[in-house]
């Protein structure tokens, strides 16, 4: 009987408990693996995010550069047009057009009618 019990314990130890331990070890390593994969994914995501932000900021930088150049050009163009407009509005030019092309003249005092209001 004693022998039988000893051999039964041995059997349980070697067959049941050992299998259970293996199963427990295998569960742990699977969880670790899952965690590792998740972490890797997060790191990769963060890396790709960083890369995307970097590329996007570079793209924005080029766009700012282009817009800045365009802005400077437009300011210059605007200034040129202002100078041209002022030149076209010069009194001597307008007077010459009014007198010679449009046949206008400066009204004499007796032609001026003051409208009371």
């Amino acid at each position: 009987m004693q022998n039988f019990l000893t051999s039964a314990e041995k059997f349980i130890h070697t067959n049941v408990l050992a299998r259970q331990r293996v199963r427990r070890d295998s569960d742990v390593s699977r969880r670790e693996m899952a965690a590792l994969v998740c972490m890797s994914l997060v790191i990769m995501l963060a890396f790709f995010m960083f890369l995307w932000v970097r590329i996007y900021s570079l793209e924005i930088g080029y766009r700012i550069s282009d817009d800045h150049r365009l802005n400077e050009e437009l300011i210059q163009e605007n200034q040129k047009l202002k100078v041209e407009r002022a030149s076209l509005k010069s009194s001597s030019r307008l007077e010459a057009i009014a007198l010679n092309q449009l046949g206008m003249s400066v009204p004499r005092p007796e032609q001026v009618v003051i409208i009371p209001w």
């Binding site: 900021s57 570079l58 924005i60 930088g61 080029y62 700012i64 550069s65 800045h68 400077e72 210059q76 200034q79 040129k80 202002k82 100078v83 041209e84 002022a86 030149s87 509005k89 010069s90 009194s91 001597s92 007077e95 400066v106 009204p107 004499r108 005092p109 007796e110 001026v112 003051i114």
Partner: protein
Amino acid sequence: MVKLKSRNELAKNIRFIAMGFVVLFAIAALRAYFLQVLRSGELADMIRGQSTTSIELLPRRGTVYDRNGTELAASLEVDSLYARPSLIHDPKTVAQQLAPILQLPLSAVYKDLASTRPFVWVQRKVMPTQADEIRALKIEGLGFLKESQRFYPQKEIAAQVLGFVGVDSQGLEGIERQYDRLIKGKTRKLFADRDAKGRHVFVEGLQPSDQSREGNDLVLTIDKNIQYIAEKELQTAVSAAQAKSGTAIVMDTQTGEVLASAVCPLFNPNQLAEAEPDAWRNRAITDIYEPGSTFKTFLVASALEEGVIKPADMFFCENGAYHVANHIIHDHGSYGWLDVANIIKHSSNIGASKIGRQLGKEQMYKYIRRFGFTAETGISLPAEQSGFMPSLKNCSEHTQCTISFGQSITVTPLQMVTAYAAIANGGMLMQPIIVKRISDSQGGIVQENSPVMRRRVISPQTARIMRDILKQVVIPGGTGTRAAVNGYTVAGKTGTSQKIEQGGYSHSKVMASFAGFVPADEPRLAMIVLIDEPQRMKFGGECAAPAFSRMATDILNYLHVAPDAVPAQDPGRVKELKTEPFKVAKLDAD
């Protein structure tokens, strides 16, 4: 025992390796501290120098506007052509290509291109069409840099007031010089990253080193249309009189704002090389002259203010010759008894001398100073003169008489018109203003110049008497009838003074002028027209008065000032204009 020994060795090895890591970390930490803290600035500059670049933005010089916002002076960026001679293989051929485009002598261009210097300017500030032609040639060793170029779109208008700038955009004359510090702006730098192709990338956005790149803008009190009228009529007068030069100023009597300041000969600041340097001078403030009879106005005003004379007082004008301290003072006519108004109307030197003597030297000097003569007006323009008057202790009896009719004293045209404006506005001497406002590039006000009354010179009653006296000058019988304006009352005074030549008065060279204000009863404009050395029509009433009349007619029309007198149907009948007679009794009562 073996197991125990090996476990101890393992622990020892682990400790050893850990120690090694600690040491390595300590070294790394020390190195990091050295690089990140101790040498951080130096290394940051180094890396910035390698990967970033600064873009220098040229300052844009502020724009100068007239009072209605029309551009009188503005800056544009233009190309300047440079060469790197070491990169030009055949300077002779390149010079032959460039010279006709730039309209420069071939030898001059070749000399630049064959230079041993690493960098030479071939032509600064080239025309856009020229730059395009040169770019199309695609010549190695040539390049363009942007530079600021000043343009004056109204050409000759107010050229002497505006002045001009040099090749490096530094103000050299006029407003450009006076306000150079405020309008020139500052160079600004933008920091950008550089990519592999050398292109600029603003990864961190626009990071200006300094926001205040653009210069401030100036708004002048000048009205470009009034300025044009003044310049046109002045030029007509100078040409008609075959004179050396001329000056005209139009001032708002109530505010002291200079609406026009014309100088003839004119010059175009866009083509500076073609103008005589003599034309650059703003004679309205830099040239002094003896005012002649226009000065009698202030003598009479002073005497009336002090109560030493009354408008009805009669003075014997010695029939044209008056002996004073071994000198003889002459009138241009032979006058007997004249009242104060007629002394002014006929411009009697003898009558003025007698009023001057009655006023006394001290009082005369006091009022001359109070009217602003012999001191700079303080207008913000460079090289203003103050005028000259002999010191009181050196003022002889004869000098006192000559000062009474505008000799032995020198003034500037601006001082004269400011003093006339004081009579026009009821006795207040205003500070002449040429710059109305200074604003930054965003439109914010940096400085606003409001009208400033410097002092009261005479009472409103005296000013009113003077206005009525001066109106007599323009009606028939007066010396300034040709200054009359159809439809408006005019008050003013003619002046003709001999110029000083070789220590004495010239017999042929004179300064002819007319100064006054319109409309006489409710003055809006004080004006002076001064003709230097007229060869024909030598009197102020002949050459300056008609210019005054034409100017006043056009300017009053432009300003929509309602006529205050009955207009003559026939402009030729201007002399018959109905003008209020001088009312002594009423004025005395005032």
